[in-house]
Amino acid sequence: MVAMLLAGGEGKRLGSLTYNLAKPAVPFGGKYRIIDFTLSNCTNSGIDTVGVLTQYQPLLLNSHIGNGSPWDLNRKGGGVFILPPFVEKNGGTWYKGTANAIFQNLTFLEHFNPKYVLVISGDHIYTMNYEKMLEFHQENKSDVTIAAIEVPWKEASRFGILNTDSKHQIIEFEEKPIEPKNNLASMGIYIFNYELLKEYLILDEANPKSSKDFGKDVLPKMLMDGLRLNAYPFDGYWKDVGTIESLWEANMDMLEENPPINLNDHQWRIRSVANNQLPQFISKTARIKNSIINEGCYITGEIEHSVLFSGVNVGNNSYIKDSVIMPNARIGENVVIHKAIIGENIIIEDGSFISGLHDEVTIINEKSLKYKSIIPDRKARAGVER
């Protein structure tokens, strides 16, 4: 089985975090980039050939992935391949949709001629054994298997909903239905029989009315043509980190006493690129509770319920709560930060106070600005409890 990992997304709703960075390269969990989860899932599932389809701002993503060796994907006759849009004899276009992106890379797939193709994206946080999904696919003699997760009913309208029969076979698709008939949402994770995938991608490409999307065009057509589509039920943690709020929430989720993903699980390691840092140093005046802190940090202040990436300095008498501090940020002395995301390399000057007005997540990511008080109001300051 060859995996095709769609990593071209801009992640517009992540604002300044994705100005210069594709969404899958956004830092997460103190040490990782979002794509590390999907890549590690591939390695841990025994998949050793992975095409990563990039498009938006790929530079950092490309250099992060490199030759794939951090995920054991530097392999003879396989491994990781970065697949950007390209020009050939007949010209070329940017990727026009999820299906078109795979279509443009059929030559790549032909080269490996796999029996199955796994299509995944690099913008969710989750762990999944794709091998087990393949077993389910084979047991059910499916043409296509779509991984699906039950979502709260009130959220169902945000998703592609799958209506299934008692044997997990899909009988209907509903894209963002106003009145959903089911709460089983498509995770955008598909296993196809390669020959069929090829056939339908070619068909879809030739259809001028198609938006070139799996969920909206290719899969509904396959269903209409009577192909066998099954839903593979998944009930673990699955988080789309496409907005500032959800990125912050997912980081906070990792701080729970029993976090939804155990980053210390040696049976399912999440691997990433390391960068030669010292162990973190916790000084005499530091106080740390309920937090995750990465190597290379130097902490003299107080950290509560926060996630700190590598190389972060926190000055004397500073207090950070419910926040995410990205790599190499420098927090001065006497700083208070509450419910914020501080971007990479940002400097927060001594005495700054950062907190949202209405309990929303504040994001600080503009290097050109020096941050002093975001909220000068003294009442708000008193509201941050120690």
Partner: protein
């Protein structure tokens, strides 16, 4: 310095750190929360642009091989040159390393085939941060046969190295190449270069403990591992450190993969250590993957890897005589 072959001779290392060197060479002893002693010498060579390094090992080489791998983490995974591990062919006959020269002789073919014409020979891994290039320039400018930077560290022309070994392989009066050079110094053009950087000696557990505690002065540690150049070590995929509601950490170095639920003060915690609630660790060094049970108390101890300290256990020692617990022990 691509005309230089780096040679790190660990063949006659002594077991000077007692329990810590029972099953591993001194070069392999964990240091500073993430390093092993060999990382310093190896990084110094690579940072000085040496692209080919041979390491002569004695019998306890497994942990060293595991740590070094193919040299990738030190940029030595190369087709042209790279890292070459030379395990001992002749076992060490006695603690004075009488067969050190014989071991070099057994590996002579490697040295003869190496395309470099000069060797940088370092006897025993050294904790220091140094750029060898100025010394090498001086060695070349003076057209010296041998340039000594420090006891146990010298540049030597390969032809002379081979000549010396062939001539003295059966010489029982000589314990090491360093010693031999001292004896034959009049026969060759030997220069000395005054090396000013600190070289940290670790010849006893007490030394090791004191040097480690000094690393808690972070400026000192930072300087040691980054000036003039970065010291590299093996990279691992451990998760960031977890602190819970009962964590209390003061003045300590904590490595990734650890979970701290108790108290840690003035200590170095290596990777993957679990400190349970109520446990108290003071002025200690805890190697990889140890587990410290609830309400245990440790003071002035060094725990080798994978030691399990049972709940409520107390191990209290003195700073000038730290207690060492051997690898894998359950206390």
């Amino acid at each position: 310095m691509k005309e230089v072959l780096g040679v790190i001779n660990l063949y006659h290392e002594k077991d000077q750190l007692e329990k810590l060197t029972v099953n591993r060479p001194l070069a392999s002893v964990p240091f500073g929360g993430r390093y092993r002693i060999i990382d310093f010498t190896l990084s110094n060579m690579v940072n000085s642009n040496i692209k080919n390094v041979a390491i002569l090992m004695n019998q306890k080489y497994r942990s060293l091989m595991d740590h070094l791998g193919n040299g990738e983490d030190w940029d030595l995974n190369r087709k042209d040159g790279g890292l070459f591990l030379l395990p001992a062919i002749t076992p060490v006959e006695n603690k004075m390393g009488l067969t050190d020269l014989r071991n070099l002789y057994q590996h002579l073919e490697y040295f003869q085939k190496a395309k470099q014409e000069q060797l940088l020979f370092i006897d025993g891994a050294k904790i220091t941060n140094m750029d060898y290039r100025p010394v090498f320039r001086s060695h070349m400018k003076n057209d010296a046969d041998i340039t000594i930077l420090y006891p146990d560290m010298f540049f030597i022309k390969k032809s002379i190295f081979i000549e010396l070994i062939k001539e003295h392989v059966e010489n029982k009066e000589v314990n090491s190449l360093t010693e031999l050079i001292g004896i034959v110094t009049d026969q060759y053009h030997v220069m000395t270069y005054y090396y000013q950087n600190e070289v940290i000696q670790v010849t006893s557990i007490k030394d090791y403990y004191q040097v480690s505690m000094k690393l808690l002065e972070l400026d000192y540690f930072n300087q040691l591992v980054s000036k003039p150049a970065d010291i590299y070590s093996k990279e691992k995929d451990d998760a960031p450190v977890r602190y819970t509601s009962s964590s209390e950490v003061i003045n300590s170095l904590i490595a990734n993969g650890s979970v701290i639920e108790g108290q840690v003060e003035g200590s170095i915690i290596f990777r993957g250590v679990k400190v349970h609630k109520g446990a108290s660790i003071k002025n200690s060094i805890i190697f990889q993957r140890c587990e410290i049970g609830e309400n245990a108390v440790l003071e002035n101890v060094i725990l080798d890897k994978e030691v399990i300290i049972s709940p409520n256990q107390k191990l209290i020692s003195e700073a000038d005589q730290p207690l060492v617990i051997e690898k894998g022990a359950v206390v």
